[in-house]
């Protein structure tokens, strides 16, 4: 099935797009004299797939880092699920339902696929150190419960065969998939994907697109996606933010954005006739 056909199937089972769940307001982020983000504002609605595009160095990854609390913006606020925050903190972000994947895979290389995904459940585990040392009571019960949940994700992403392989030994495409699995194990409300398809071949890309759409539809997860493949972005996203040199260039549906002359000039290229 091509991505276009999947898309129309997705439209047929159109999921609900709800209220604004995340709003970024007038965010400014500077590193010394370099301005990575300048006065950027946009919002994300519950259940939508929101793409962030822009040329290299436009501030896309910095934006994600601000959203999950890695970078501290000098100005601006983040409104997350109705709470106005001067800045986000990584632990709070994780606890309140924000998960992410990284552009350069950030897996735990020495651990198996299963263990990597199990780490996504850590915030939901309560067993004390002593219970874990004797593998008794809560420790045992939780381990088995979460294992069952993680196995569902493993089935969902079709990675059963690499369950016990150390992730350092996996090919790139599968590592990307394991990273998505780990993020999904957190049962996030908002999933931040930083170039989930970079460096993949067509088949791997189609798989990944299918997984993202499935996650969005079946779990109702809101997705913010950074991607360079315009075909994919225009195909699957509901709205697109365009950044250029840290500034918001355009914001709208894929159609609107792709017709915006400034976007065409800065990013998609001008047709000379």
């Amino acid at each position: 099935m091509s991505t276009v056909e999947q898309r129309s199937a997705a439209v047929a089972r159109r999921r609900e797009i709800g209220e604004v769940v995340l709003a970024v307001e007038n965010v400014e982020l500077r590193f010394g004299g370099v301005t990575a983000l300048a006065d950027v504002s946009f919002d994300v609605r519950r259940g939508e797939i929101r793409a962030i595009i822009g040329p290299n160095g436009a501030g896309k990854s910095s934006m994600l880092n601000v959203i999950n609390g890695f970078y501290q913006p000098q100005q601006g606020t983040i409104v997350w699920k109705g709470r106005r925050l001067r800045r986000m903190r990584p632990h709070f972000a994780a606890k309140s339902g924000i998960a992410r994947t990284f552009q350069n895979i950030a897996l735990f290389r020495g651990m198996t696929t299963l263990d990597n995904i199990m780490t996504g459940r850590i915030l939901k585990m309560r067993a004390s150190l002593l219970e874990q040392a004797v593998y008794f009571g809560r420790a045992r019960r939780e381990e088995l419960e979460h294992r069952a949940f993680v196995e569902k994700i493993i089935d969902f992403l079709e990675i059963q065969h690499i369950r016990t392989t150390p992730v350092g030994k996996l090919p790139y495409g599968l590592q990307k998939r394991v990273e998505l699995a780990r993020a999904l194990a957190m049962e996030p409300e908002l999933l931040l994907l930083d170039e989930p398809m970079a460096g993949m071949n067509l088949e791997e890309k189609e798989d990944m697109v299918r997984f993202i759409l499935d996650v969005n539809e079946e779990f109702g997860t809101t997705v913010i996606l950074i991607e360079h493949d315009m075909g994919v972005v225009m195909d699957i996203s509901d709205r697109v933010v365009v950044l250029d040199h840290g500034r918001l260039l355009a914001d709208g549906t894929p159609d609107e954005v792709s017709r915006d002359p400034r976007v065409i000039e800065a990013y998609l290229g001008v047709v000379h006739d």
Binding site: A106, Q132, E151
Partner: protein, 358 residues
């Protein structure tokens, strides 16, 4: 053909989650335990028990402690000797202040005290990593030993600074000091090491172990999924020091019978570090292999050299021993940088296919 999972199906996650998933592994461990608990106490001489088995077991326990910190949580430490000394002196103070206290309780309490000291010296790990942390833990090593040497309170104001460990009982049986039989000491240490190994295996395969390894492998990603670096690193320091403290207490009480700070100098820290590097970082089995390598090999070499007719040159033999030992360490690190435990892993892979090449 001999060692393989074929036909051993798991129908529940509980069964799949077992420590030893294969029948062959369970048989293997049963044989080892039988040897350790029955055959060795019956057959080995007192000399063997006291000069080989006891140091081997206690070093393996210390290696287990350091491996939790360095192998699993990725925090390099050179303070092992200092933490062992802390355990030894804590046990001495407790055993002399409360003479009626069961030695098991003394051990647990001195482990807990060492854990607290370990957490204190682990605090710098929140800001510094790698070699810099190693230097910070080195400070712990020197400071702690200096403390136990200089302050007479720790040695109960003994004039010589060398004090013999008193006899104490566990469940009514003397397990330390001169009145305890070597077999009783050996079995007691063996039980402690067995239980603590099982606990370490459990911790490292469950949530806390995964958070240690996550911090080790990629601390940024660990933070993103909600692991607090502070908690993860400090629990690693606490658990590691708990193990080292108990190892130190056993060393003083069950092995040498003397409580002295000098027994835990920087050389001990390095020995334990060598053990986990040679045995295998981030493995449980590696601690035993590494401890065996470092403790047993010199004895074996020494006997072999003497057997080769070098009785006249005892000094020569000990030089040769050191040289061969050094060469072997380098050799093993080149052949298998992931340690002896990895060799065993490769051996198991080969056994699965044997006698076929693939």
């Amino acid at each position: 053909m001999i060692y393989r999972e074929t036909g051993q199906f798991k129908t529940s996650y509980a069964a799949d989650q077992a420590v030893l998933r294969l029948r062959e592994d369970r048989i293997g461990l049963a044989v080892i335990l039988l040897l350790a608990y029955v055959a060795i106490p019956l057959l080995a001489s007192e000399y063997w028990l006291s000069t080989i088995m006891l140091p081997f077991l206690i070093y393996a326990l210390a290696a287990l402690g350091l491996n939790i910190l360095t192998g699993y949580a990725g925090q390099l430490s050179l303070g092992t000797g200092g933490f062992m000394a802390t355990g030894a002196f804590a046990a001495y103070k407790l055993a002399t202040a409360f003479p009626g206290l069961d030695f098991v309780v003394v051990l647990i309490l001195s482990g807990a005290i060492t854990a607290a000291v370990g957490v204190l010296f682990g605090l710098p790990s929140l800001r510094i990593k790698g070699f810099y942390l190693a230097v910070a833990t080195l400070a712990a090593q020197f400071f702690l030993l200096w403390l136990y040497n200089k302050i007479p309170w720790f040695t109960n104001y003994s004039a010589s600074g060398v004090i013999s460990a008193p006899t104490r009982t566990a469940l009514g049986i003397p397990v330390t000091g001169f009145e305890a039989s070597v077999t009783a000491k050996y079995l007691f240490v063996l039980i402690v090491v067995t239980l603590l190994s099982l606990a370490a295996k459990n911790m490292t395969r469950l949530e806390v172990g995964r958070s240690w390894m996550a911090i080790r492998d990629m601390d940024i990603a660990a933070e993103i999924i909600g692991i607090r670096p502070l908690t993860a690193k400090l629990t690693a320091f606490a658990v590691s020091s708990f193990y080292c403290g108990i190892a130190g207490a056993l060393w003083a009480f069950s092995h040498t019978g003397a409580v002295e700070a000098l027994a835990f100098d920087i050389g001990v820290s390095f020995r334990v570090l060598f053990m986990i590097i040679i045995g295998g970082l981030g493995t449980i089995l590696g601690n035993y292999l590494g401890a065996a390598f470092i403790v047993l090999l010199p004895i074996f070499l020494n006997n072999a050299l003497l057997g080769l007719g070098m009785q006249e040159a005892v000094a020569m033999a000990s030089h040769l021993e050191a040289m061969i030992m050094g060469a072997l360490i380098v050799f093993f690190l080149i052949v298998e940088p992931h340690g002896l435990a990895r060799l065993w892993q490769i051996g198991k892979e080969k056994l699965r296919k044997w006698p076929f090449p693939y």
